[in-house]
């Protein structure tokens, strides 16, 4: 049984290797074409400046972004961790019965209170 288990993951490991090798080989092929002078390589200052609709860049390239993103990241962490508990619960639900249903209902209700609180405090609005 254990050998079987490792065999499955060995196949996944081979798949990851092939999935990385395919796009890498395409990039290498493209690079090889530039060595053979089929693909042009003629950089100049205008071409290699960051694209900004043809304008010259004003100020720094790095900009601050909206604080909103952090609240969504926090909400995501809370509710994605909830799903971590939901998956094993769902697999063994038939064995566990009514107790598991009530238990999970209480857990999710607590989280839904947090969700309602977030909505009331306009954390779900985007302005």
């Amino acid at each position: 049984m254990l050998e079987d288990y490792f065999r499955q993951y060995g196949l996944i490991a081979v798949f990851i290797a092939v999935a990385v090798a395919l796009p890498t080989s395409l990039l290498l092929l493209s690079w090889a074409l530039s060595l053979a002078r089929i693909r042009p390589h003629k950089p100049n200052p205008v071409k290699s400046s960051p694209y900004e609709c043809g304008m010259e860049i004003i100020g720094s390239r790095w900009v601050r972004f909206n604080f909103r993103y952090y609240t969504f990241a926090l909400l995501f962490v809370v509710f994605d961790v909830e799903t971590v508990f939901l998956y094993p619960w769902a697999v063994y639900f038939k064995q566990l019965g009514l107790f598991a249903l009530i238990e999970m209902l209480v857990f999710v209700l607590i989280l839904m209170v947090a969700w309602a609180y977030a909505w009331r405090n306009k954390a779900l609005e985007w302005r």
Partner: protein, 398 residues
């Protein structure tokens, strides 16, 4: 070989063949060679079908928009993808100054990997899969979450404001839709009691689409948003932020991003066909053909959605995920759990009753939720009067 590997006819035969002429001490080599052949075949099959479908998608989009679409190369333009590949390979690879070189180069590869890797656990036909993990669906969710990272790497490394904006929007949207997507799968797991995709297909006495209509709708919309396709394509909204995280990419790296983006609907259709449409099972026709037909049907639905709807605003997209799809996903879980508790081993009549209840709940909750929320879901302050300072309404300070 254990029982799980034994069931995989696809791989078992190859292993047997390699094992027959290799000496006994080289068992591991037979394993590795068989694995390589199977994996290489599946990965390239996925790519070839994806490339063909780029042509189908462009032709059909042309039809939807009352134009012809690519029709020059080969009969009906079938060879267009090959022409595209040659063009992308021979284009100059512009690397603007100020990019973070390594991250900039790794990002397209990293976006491509999860798009292909989900096929490692999806059964493509009866006894035809690369691996049958006992955590199959969890593996798919974990792997496809990597694309969020790739998008942010691409946007951050480009050193361009538009790229950074696109990446930040992309991450916010992807993580918001991750939650309802993951919740919608729980209903299916409750009914089947397993995470392995092969078990999920075999557990479907009637297609789970009938038993889980709400889960299907949530999964469909959320995965459509996860792929950044048109109703949800804020990440690369051309009219606002040029091309988002793609702005500074050119040549083959741009091609890899496009390839990954076209492979994503294939992956999502394959997952949905497995979870909700009974996967490979079907009468008369061979199992692989059934699976392919179901995937094509779902793929067409994605395309239809893309061709029909205009792009949504940021606040509409975030509100839709958090205020509508998320509570509906939670409701779906507990309705399903209560039914599973009532009928742990349902007969056919009970299954159809279950389906009736679930369709009632789905339609009822969708109607009630959209009535309740309505315009309030995405309410916005009225547009600023023209004389307001900096285009903001007077007296309004957020």
């Amino acid at each position: 070989m254990g029982p799980v590997t034994q069931a995989n006819s696809f791989y078992r035969n190859l292993y047997g063949w390699f094992d027959s002429w290799l000496p006994d001490s080289l068992d591991w080599l037979a394993y590795l060679l068989a694995a390589l052949v199977v994996v290489f075949a599946v990965a390239n099959l996925v790519l070839v079908i994806t490339i063909l479908f780029t042509w189908v998608e462009r032709r059909l989009l042309g039809r939807f928009q009352a134009r012809l679409g690519p029709n020059r190369w080969g009969p009906w333009g079938v060879l267009q993808p090959i022409a595209d590949a040659i063009k992308l390979l021979s284009k100059e690879d512009i690397r603007p100054e100020g990019v973070d070189r390594w991250v900039f180069n790794i990002a397209p590869v990293l976006l491509f990997v999860p798009a292909v890797l989900v096929f490692a656990v999806i059964p493509l036909g009866k006894n035809t899969y690369v691996a049958n993990l006992n955590i199959g669906i969890l593996f798919i969710i974990a792997v496809s979450a990597v694309s969020t990272l790739a998008i942010f790497m691409a946007g951050w490394a480009s050193g361009n404001r538009y790229s950074l904006f696109g990446a930040a929007r992309g991450v916010a949207q992807l993580i918001s839709y991750e939650v309802p997507m993951v919740l919608s799968v729980v209903g299916v797991i409750l009914l089947a009691g397993s995470l392995s995709l092969v078990d999920l297909v075999e557990a479907q006495d009637i297609p789970f689409l009938l038993l889980q209509p709400l889960g299907f709708i949530i999964f469909f919309l959320a995965s459509s948003a996860e792929m950044n396709r048109t109703p949800f394509d804020l990440v690369e909204a051309e009219s606002e932020i040029v091309a988002g995280y793609l702005t500074e990419y050119s040549g083959m790296k741009f091609g890899l991003f496009q390839l990954a983006e076209f492979a994503a609907p294939f992956g999502a259709s394959a997952i949905m066909a497995t979870l909700f449409l009974k996967g490979w099972e079907g009468p008369v026709l061979p199992s692989h053909l059934w699976f392919f037909l179901k995937v094509c049907l779902l793929w067409f639905l994605f395309l239809w959605l893309r061709a029909t709807l205009p792009r949504l605003r940021v606040d509409q997209i975030m509100g839709f995920a958090w205020k509508l799809l998320f509570p509906l996903g939670v409701l779906n879980i507990f309705v399903t759990a209560a039914e599973v508790l009532a009928w742990p081993d349902p007969s056919t009549a009970q299954l159809w009753t279950m389906a009736g209840i679930n369709w009632g709940v789905a339609i009822g909750s969708l109607v009630v939720a959209s009535r309740l929320a309505g315009n309030k879901l995405t309410s916005r302050p009225p547009l600023a009067p023209m004389h307001g300072k900096g285009g903001r309404p007077l007296g309004e300070r957020g």
